[in-house]
Subunit: 222 residues, 2 copies
Amino acid sequence: VILYDISMTIEPGMAVYKNKAEKNPRLIVTRDFTDSAVYETRLEMDLHTGTHIDMPRHILPAGDSSDHWTAESIFTRCAVLDFSDLESDRITALSLEQKTAELEGAVPLFGRERAVLLKTANSQRESFDFNFTFLEKSGAAYLAEKQTAGVGIDALGIERDQPGHETHRTLLEAGAWILEGLRLAKVPQGFYILALMPLKIAGVEALPARAVLLSPDAIKIS
Amino acid sequence: VILYDISMTIEPGMAVYKNKAEKNPRLIVTRDFTDSAVYETRLEMDLHTGTHIDMPRHILPAGDSSDHWTAESIFTRCAVLDFSDLESDRITALSLEQKTAELEGAVPLFGRERAVLLKTANSQRESFDFNFTFLEKSGAAYLAEKQTAGVGIDALGIERDQPGHETHRTLLEAGAWILEGLRLAKVPQGFYILALMPLKIAGVEALPARAVLLSPDAIKIS
């Protein structure tokens, strides 16, 4: 039933936002077999490392923290939209309109029970690209208006170079979750069930997560 | 389809093994709204914090690391065995034999496709108990002999006070995974599907995970 693991691998030297050294994860061995019977490691990493969910608190001072993310959101129907051949570096309302015209038919694309995952040229490189493809604010407004459950993207940020973080703001204010750091190179455009399970950390603005895609008939969900 | 979230909440001050201060997780705010447009946090924690899977490398110097844990292991049929009323502080082969006699019938309990989760009095307290109920080595041998896929327990360790870590060793050498730090207070004895999704961290001896129980007919798995 599991078709694709779309999570980034967490390790020292992995791509981190803007290649900032302080954002690199660290793995510190605290006990090993030279003087102990067990091997143990301590992890240090930003909550926005690798595949993670942004909570409203990340951008909105009065926004909800991770305490409001419940296990009800683990399984969501989703559409992977393939923008790998996009000529621009940003996904706009127009790009989304054209793409969804291709896909819409028997299966609805939008609504509170469905999410959208954006596949772009970002999935073709492992290193951080300062010019990564992002969801432009008009695209965010388009998806918010369609009442999407959430939006995922194969970049460490869902936007860049937009004053006021309007893409984040528009989606989070509309109650949609934001999932960053996906790996979609092998995933064909189409319909899936997203299984999204973040660590259960109290009171924070982002949650590192494992994300996999299941076949659309794998589980009985609405 | 999601019946129970059986994961521990990760936060400063949570129960950690033997209450060791250095095992406490830390959440360090690196940016906030006083001087930034975003809120960001860095996490420091042992990989054995809260709900986590032990890899063979934790105990066996030549054992596999997390690189060998694949997404294939996300969904596993499991039985929750309730030992809350056990008079002893350890689950032995005899305890398991008596308990499984109660349950065995139409649904098989054991085999490579099925896991066992041990519910004990541990689930009734939040703080670390130095005398926590554990799986005694004879119990581990019993489960290894039954070729279980994995064993979970509602303690931060699956064993204590056994020289050579024989419970870990017996299970890991038999190819069974070990899942520690479960919360099972509300879960009735019975059959479920365990959805177990750890962070994808390369080359380590343990993986922090989210774990939830689904109804046994939720997904078509073997």
